[in-house]
């Protein structure tokens, strides 16, 4: 074993890390936005809206993320990066929608009705009644969803995006030091997941303080 390859390839690994972070951040934002939309659709007092949201979640959930990414790339014809981010966002949004839906469902609807009777608008009810309560309960499952996004971002390498997992394979092809590279990259992924968990725990503490 020769661990110096890791140092020799530090720039490649760092640029891979940057790309992984970029994909993760964009996907986290996209997936959360779509997830909020779907969860709100499910909470609407309309049967049709609820069924539409349910169908979306059901269809998206039963297809592997790689296939969505490939479909967007080869059939729709997007570039590699937008295809990866959009595909992964759509994939994770179905799980995030479920998390948010469960959170919203845990709040009795009488609270919304009472606020409505007091003359608050729907937006005000969401902002001042639902959100503060939901945010705290939803944070732990949301954390694991974000960690899931870090892991799923590895699928982007299959489109030739030079992120962390791609660099592993690249180091193996050039130096036959796949084991060292894979170990180093695994440690990086672990550090990423841990820092997301730590960051979300900090946010959670802020939320419960007030």
């Amino acid at each position: 074993m020769r661990w110096s390859v890791i140092w020799d390839y530090r720039e490649a690994l760092l640029s891979g890390l940057a790309l992984t972070l970029e994909i993760t951040a964009l996907t986290a934002v996209g997936a959360t936005l779509i997830g909020i939309l779907i969860a709100c659709l499910r909470q609407q007092p309309s049967y049709i809206a609820g069924r539409l949201a349910e169908t979306y979640v059901e269809v998206i959930r039963n297809i592997p993320s790689v296939i969505k990414v490939f479909f967007l790339y080869f059939v729709v014809g997007l570039d590699a990066m937008p295809a990866a981010v959009l595909g992964l966002s759509v994939h994770q949004s179905s799980y995030i929608a479920d998390v948010l839906d469960a959170g919203l469902r845990s709040i009795p609807r009488e609270q919304s009705e009472a606020a409505w009777t007091c003359g608050h608008s729907r937006l005000q009810i969401f902002r001042h009644v639902l959100l503060p309560q939901v945010a705290a309960t939803v944070l732990p499952p949301l954390t694991s969803q974000f960690i899931e996004i870090v892991k799923n971002s590895a699928a982007a390498m299959l489109l030739g995006i030079k992120e962390l997992t791609f660099q592993t394979q690249n180091i193996d092809v050039e130096t036959f030091r796949g084991f060292e590279a894979a170990t180093a990259v695994t440690v990086i992924y672990l550090a990423l997941s841990l820092s997301i968990a730590g960051g979300m725990a900090l946010v959670g503490r802020r939320l419960t303080w007030r």
Partner: protein
Amino acid sequence: MAVRRSAFGPAEPTALDRWIWRGLVAFGLLLLIWLVARQRWEVVVASGPFLLKSLGVSWLLTITSVAIGLPAGILLAILRAGGPPAVRQLAVAVIELVRATPQLMVIFWIFFAVPAFTGHKVPAWTAAIASLSLIAASYLAEVVRAGLASVPRIQTESGLATGLSRTQILLEIVLPQALRNMLPALIATIVMMFKITSLIYVVGITDFFRAVILINNREFEPVALYTTLAAGYFVCCSLLSWIIRRLDPKYVLAQ
């Protein structure tokens, strides 16, 4: 008596709602059929047997990895719950490490680690089964842990009080109930594993995903082929999800 509908939260459907929904579904299906019918299906039909065989490979990978992963997962969960401290830490480390690493990385890792230690290249199938089983075992260990926790502690205590050994209590009282309680979660893990098998093509096994890519490389018919691909996975996973819902209507698929 008419019940006033609340302006908040999911609503009970009226008869009209149900008809509107059925209409929408029919319209959606017709639109889908119209879109799909315009594609060239000769390629898919011509490679039908090849595609079916590769779908079988995907199922084989899924079933094998769960068949190996379940006993290993039960073992990991038991070690995590009641092993000696060092073993317990090791079990936690394995479970958390695999669960925190991208599945693609786990596959690469097995593929690279074995040659690094033994000097021999691993056959693709061995690497595939080993990595998928490792993934299944780590996720199932958590499922089993939840299952074990679902059996009230008082049963273990009662067992001890009546003079049963710890092994007897585990095998004859706790585990049978735990396995029944975790059945929906177990099938959910099978769904997850079936989706993960789509990554295994990186080691060169012709599963359903790779079969479609190979045909597409030769014939270039992306729309028809990728639609078939999505439909194939959707049908297989929906089947499993449907079984979960039959078993436990309130079960939430977490992953």
